[in-house]
Each structure stands twice: as structure tokens, then as C-alpha cells.
């Protein structure tokens, strides 16, 4: 019904050559680095490197970048703005630092999603990190249902009009109607989900036999290099910040 809302394999880009678990490890390193400091130098340096990597993930034009990240940019500017407005000692610089931090934290996720096929991700997680196959492939199958649910939601909203129920202007009534729509959607989703589970059972899913993998997932030298590079960038940014005297570690404890 609504074309474009389909789950398909991610396009092959240069970054796709990096194993998803290596990308996840890099993401973890970046998160750890940025979550432990409140300065502006560290996130700026990390963000610069991340921006340089965008073309490798197939994001080449600013339009494409904004299309993929506008909710993130909006959220980051809100974080910066709110801190400047409500906090007494946070100047514009601190606000900017916080906003950059949010973006630098989230961009590795954007890179991962843009370059990684969900199936490869499941293969890599189950092969290298011993994530349970029941969880990984169950989630994969569930992901397939998301576009179907979105189509179904549109249909249910149309169907309500055929019963004499308009969207209406009263927000309270609209909220109650929305609850009803979600109920109908959930009933459908649970039916569909259990049919899918039955179909997977019938093909021997999670039957206790050790599962093999038809595609495999290999860690190569470049994957280790990728993680090492992430370590170097984060270490370098932190060192630069310490040298500049701006490093402001936070210890949550």
C-alpha cells in the first residue's frame, strides 16, 4: 500500500566491508570516551573524524545527511539550548559542547545503520559474540513485520471513518481514539506474530539442534584495524583535550 516502507537489504557501501561487530566495538569505544567528559574539544575532534567517514557509508550530500539525521540534530540543539537557558553556570560554549557530544555519540549509530544489513548483523552477533540465535533471528523476523504494521495502521485509520468516527478536534477524544487504534493494531500484530512464530517452528527454528550459518561471518585484519583506529582517534582526542587543559571528566558513581 505505501511503497517505500519495506525492509530490504542495506545498500552495499565501502563501510559494509567492516564486520558489524567491529563497528559495534568502535561505537562502544566512542560512547565510553564521550560519556566520561564534558568538554568541547574531545567531541569536536571525534565528530570531525566521524564526518570524514560519512562518504564511506554512502552519505555523500548534505541533503542526504540532513534527511537521515534531522531528528538527531533537532534533539542535539534542544539539549544545548535547554542547558544554556535553565542552568545558571552553563555558558553558550558548554551548551555547544553538549550538543556536539550528542551528535558525536549518535553518528556511529547512523554509520552502522547506513552500512549494515540486518541479516549480516545477526550473523555476526551470533557467530562472534555468541548472542543467542533465538534472540537474533527472532528479532530479524520481527523486524520484517514493522513495515506491514505501518501499512496496517494507515488502513485502520481509514476504517474508522467508515464507522462514522472522525479524527475530531478535541485532543482528549483524539487520544482515546488513538488508544483504540493501537488496540486493533496490537491484536493484528499478535496474530501475525504468532503465525510467523508457527511458521518458524515448522522450519525447525530453536529446536535444540546446534544451528549452522549459511552465510558465515568472518573477522579479518581490517576489522581489527578499524577498532584500533577508533581507539586511536578517541585516545588522541582525549590527549589533545588534556593538553589544552579543557578535559573535564565526570565520574558517575
Amino acid at each position: 500500500m505505501s511503497a517505500g516502507l519495506v525492509l530490504r537489504p542495506a545498500a552495499q557501501v565501502r563501510l559494509s566491508a567492516i564486520n558489524p561487530v567491529a563497528q559495534l566495538a568502535a561505537l562502544g569505544i566512542v560512547s565510553l570516551t564521550l560519556l566520561t567528559t564534558l568538554d568541547i574539544v574531545t567531541p569536536t575532534l571525534v565528530l570531525l573524524v566521524e564526518l570524514l567517514m560519512l562518504p564511506a557509508a554512502g552519505i555523500r550530500s548534505p541533503v542526504e545527511l540532513i534527511r537521515r539525521t534531522w531528528p538527531l540534530l533537532l534533539g542535539a540543539s534542544m539539549v544545548g539550548l535547554v542547558n544554556v537557558v535553565i542552568s545558571e553556570d552553563a555558558g553558550p560554549l558548554v551548551g555547544l559542547g553538549l550538543a556536539l557530544r550528542v551528535i558525536a555519540l549518535a553518528l556511529p549509530g547512523v554509520l552502522l545503520v547506513a552500512s549494515t544489513d540486518p541479516v549480516r548483523m545477526a550473523d555476526a552477533l551470533t557467530t562472534h559474540w555468541r548472542v543467542s540465535t533465538r534472540f537474533a533471528y527472532g528479532a530479524l523476523a520481527g523486524l520484517r513485520l514493522v513495515p506491514l504494521l505501518i501499512t496496517e495502521l494507515a488502513t485502520i485509520r481509514l476504517a474508522r471513518r467508515t464507522r462514522g468516527v472522525d479524527a475530531g478536534r478535541n485532543p482528549l477524544v483524539a487520544a482515546r481514539r488513538f488508544t483504540g487504534t493501537i488496540f486493533t493494531l496490537l491484536v493484528g500484530a499478535i496474530r501475525r506474530g504468532s503465525r510467523l512464530a508457527t511458521a518458524m517452528d515448522a522450519r525447525g527454528f530453536d529446536s535444540g539442534i546446534a544451528r549452522t550459518n549459511a552465510r558465515g561471518s568472518v573477522l579479518r585484519r581490517r576489522d581489527w584495524l578499524y577498532v584500533a583506529a577508533a581507539l586511536a582517534v578517541c585516545g588522541g582526542a582525549t590527549a589533545a583535550s588534556i593538553a589544552a587543559g579543557t578535559w573535564a571528566p565526570i565520574f558517575v558513581g
Partner: protein, 429 residues
């Protein structure tokens, strides 16, 4: 059937009696099972065709070197027309079902279970699936167990026919058995001179077309159609030809991108500001003029009790509570659902839900009715009941629009037929 597959959760149902597969409890024999169910979209797991077929082999712990030759062989066996790298969301319903069948066959099942595998497909898709099943069981290495409302097309393949009676008994039929023709002896022909009773055009589409945002092809190319009081118009055509989209335009649920959908002055009488485009009407104005029945009845249910469900439309369009109650009970009795007046619509059987959704549309007495697959998934008895109900509405001077694949329904009831698709034709019967 799901019991034989060992697929019923042991905590959710109570089983009586004994059931064994190869002398074992069914769950233990599950690795020798293949299943093909109704809905292709809730049976595929992976995004690529080859990965999906391989899924069942991975589960069985088959070594990788052995997997791909077996996948290719299975795809070939069901006549899948593309390579392993074909994306599953680009396939038609019939092709998806072939792929699911390949995923079942690749595990070399001893028992193949088919649960109405063609019920959600157009005739061309259904033929694809039947041909694939026929080829798959030709070597007789697997036992085939098929459940279907519509047994006739499968008979050449079948050795034994068992009918389950409504009261729970079983009849085994002889090999010469043929199912009752659904339309046989069904007298819905109009009275002599009924054509004279045909009234004015109530709703017309003039070159109406529609495209979804971001979609390169039109969901419905420009189409013209008149709905006439006392006449039934069938809209037919393969999946994806825009039948349901045309239904949404006629039902006033979506605005056409090109062309117009206009109600006659008579039908639009009483609408605020004399608007004649149905999609501009308020929902309350719409339900008293154009009734719509969706393919999935559950999408339209809004209340927790049948009686509330039927009273809802009249209440929303301004009827008094007492009158709405009367209408609701009148319809419940007419449909033989009085015993369920306080039941939740979601708990009804498929056939009952279908009748209820038709009844909810009737509760506000609209002059035009748009029905999407009104006979979908009905057994012979409920099929005839739905057809009789529709014929009665036509005799009462309503304009009916049937969006359907069901050839029997078209031949029994349709006065006009508009076939959408590559070879668009219009037939006046």
C-alpha cells in the same frame, strides 16, 4: 492440522484423544514436517530469497557446503523464476508462496501440511502455487495434508477427501466426490422487469486516478465508473491492479489525485454546504450515504460488544439511543447473531465477523455500498448467506460495488463488471 504438526502450544489448548506422527508425539516428529500457511507475509524470515530457503537448513544444523546446492535445487523444484539474491519484498503473493514452499521442501519433509495456501492470492497466483505443489508431491515421497474451503481445484492431486461436519463429525468421501457448487440452485435472479426498477446513477468516478507518495507507478490509473441504484458493479483484476484503491476513492476515504469522484445531487442531499465530493464529507455524513466493508473485518471494529458495534453508526450520525438499539437488534436477528449480542466482535469466527461488518455498514442505511472481497474465506453455507444478503440489498434499490476475485460471486450477482489490469475491459451483463 496444527496438532499434527506439533505446532500447538501445550499450554494454550486442551487436546483430547491420541495423535501420533510416525508413531511419535507430533512435536518430536517436527523435523520431518513442512508447512505452507495462508499469509505469505507472516511466513518469510529473511530479506533475500536464498537466505530464506536456507533458514530451515541452518536450523537443522546442515553444514554450509551442503546448504547452497540444496537451496538451489529447492528453488528450481518449485519453479521460482529468480536467483537467490532476489529480495523477498519484490515478489508477488504467488511467488512468495512458492518461496515458502521451497523453504519447506528443502528440509525433505515426510509430512507436508498446506493450510489454505491459495486463499489470499489472485487466480494467477493460486495457479502458480498449485502447479508447484503438484510437481513437489509427484514423486510421492511425502504425505500431503491439505485444508481448504475450496477443494475443487486440488482434487486431481488428492487420494482421500475427509469432510469435517459443523457438529464435529467426519465423513470420508469416495474418490468420485465433487464438492457442492457454491452457486448451484441459488436463486438470486431478479424478478421480471427488474431492469425497469434500476434507478439513477448515485456515484460516479470520472477518470479518477491515485498514486501513493514516493511511488513511481500509479496505484490506480485514470478510471471511470458509475454506481447505479439497484445495480451491482463488480471490480475485478489481478493483485496490484488498483481494485482496492478504487474502492477507497469511491468510499470517500481518499481523494483522487486526478479526475473526480462525485455523488449525485440526490445522494449528496442534506450534506453541509452541498459538497458533492465524498471525501470532503464528515464521517457522520459519509456513513448515512456510502457504506464500506473492508477486506479484514477486524480493522473496522471499534467497540467491545456486538450490540454496541451495530448501534455505533446510527448513534454517530445522530439517531436517538432507542432507535439505534432497535436497529442493532433487528440486524442481529437478521444475521442469526442474537445469541452473541454481548460478545466481543474480536472473538467471533471469520464468517461471523464478515457478516457483522456488512451489518455495521447497513445499520445507517447507506444508498451505496462498497465491499472489498465480501466472500473472502467463507465456506459454502456462509457464502450463500452473504450472496443472498447482497441480492436483497440490490433489490431494495441500493447501488453495490463488489471488489473481488471470486468468479462465482461475479457470475451470480454482478450486473456490470470492470476488469482492471493490463487488459482493462468493461462488461455490461
Amino acid at each position: 492440522m496444527y496438532a499434527a504438526g506439533g505446532l500447538l502450544g501445550s499450554d494454550s489448548v486442551e487436546l483430547a484423544g491420541d495423535l501420533t506422527v510416525d508413531g511419535e508425539a507430533p512435536p518430536l516428529a517436527r523435523d520431518r514436517l513442512g508447512l505452507l500457511a495462508q499469509d505469505p507475509d507472516s511466513q518469510l524470515v529473511m530479506t533475500l530469497a536464498g537466505d530464506d530457503v536456507a533458514f530451515g537448513l541452518e536450523n537443522a544444523g546442515v553444514p554450509r557446503a551442503e546448504i547452497w546446492p540444496r537451496v538451489d535445487a529447492a528453488l528450481h523444484r518449485v519453479g521460482f523464476g529468480y536467483g537467490r539474491d532476489r529480495q523477498t519484498d519484490e515478489l508477488s503473493g504467488g511467488e512468495k508462496q512458492r518461496l515458502v514452499l521451497a523453504g519447506a521442501l528443502v528440509r525433505r519433509p515426510g509430512l507436508l501440511l498446506l493450510d489454505e495456501p491459495t486463499s489470499q492470492l489472485d487466480p494467477a497466483g493460486a495457479a502458480l502455487v498449485r502447479a508447484a505443489v503438484t510437481a513437489a508431491v509427484a514423486d510421492r515421497t511425502a504425505t500431503l495434508l491439505l485444508v481448504d474451503h475450496d477443494a475443487a481445484p486440488w482434487l486431481p492431486l488428492i487420494d482421500r477427501v475427509v469432510e469435517i461436519l459443523p457438529d464435529g463429525g467426519l465423513i470420508e468421501h469416495s474418490r468420485t466426490w465433487r464438492p457442492t457448487e457454491r452457486a448451484a440452485g441459488l436463486a438470486v435472479a431478479r424478478d421480471a422487469g427488474a431492469d425497469a426498477a434500476t434507478g439513477p446513477t448515485l456515484l460516479s468516478a470520472e477518470a479518477a486516478g491515485f498514486s501513493y507518495p514516493r511511488s513511481p507507478v500509479a496505484a490506480l490509473p485514470a478510471t471511470s465508473l458509475n454506481l447505479v441504484a439497484g445495480r451491482t458493479t463488480a471490480v475485478t483484476g489481478p493483485n496490484g491492479s488498483g481494485k482496492s484503491t478504487l474502492g477507497l476513492l469511491l468510499a470517500g476515504l481518499r481523494a483522487p489525485d486526478t479526475g473526480t469522484v462525485l455523488a449525485s445531487p440526490g445522494l449528496a442531499c442534506g450534506v453541509r454546504r452541498d459538497r458533492r465530493k465524498p471525501y470532503q464529507w464528515t464521517a457522520a455524513e459519509l456513513v448515512t450515504r456510502i457504506g464500506t466493508v473492508f477486506q479484514n473485518p477486524e480493522h473496522q471494529f471499534l467497540t467491545q460488544r456486538l450490540r454496541d458495534e451495530l448501534a455505533l453508526g446510527p448513534l454517530r450520525s445522530g439517531a436517538m439511543a432507542g432507535h439505534a438499539r432497535e436497529v442493532a437488534f433487528g440486524l442481529l436477528e437478521r444475521l442469526g447473531l442474537t445469541a452473541y449480542a454481548d460478545a466481543n466482535p474480536f472473538t467471533l469466527s471469520g464468517g461471523q465477523q464478515r457478516r457483522l461488518s456488512v451489518a455495521t455498514a447497513l445499520a445507517t442505511s447507506p444508498q451505496v455500498l462498497v465491499l472489498d472481497e465480501p466472500t473472502f474465506g467463507q465456506d459454502v453455507g456462509t457464502w450463500r448467506e452473504v450472496v443472498r444478503l447482497l441480492a436483497e440489498l440490490r433489490s431494495a434499490g441500493r447501488a453495490l460495488c463488489l471488489i473481488t476475485h471470486d468468479r462465482d460471486l461475479v457470475s451470480v450477482l454482478a450486473d456490470d463488471e470492470l476488469a482492471l489490469g493490463p487488459e482493462r475491459t468493461e462488461v455490461r451483463r
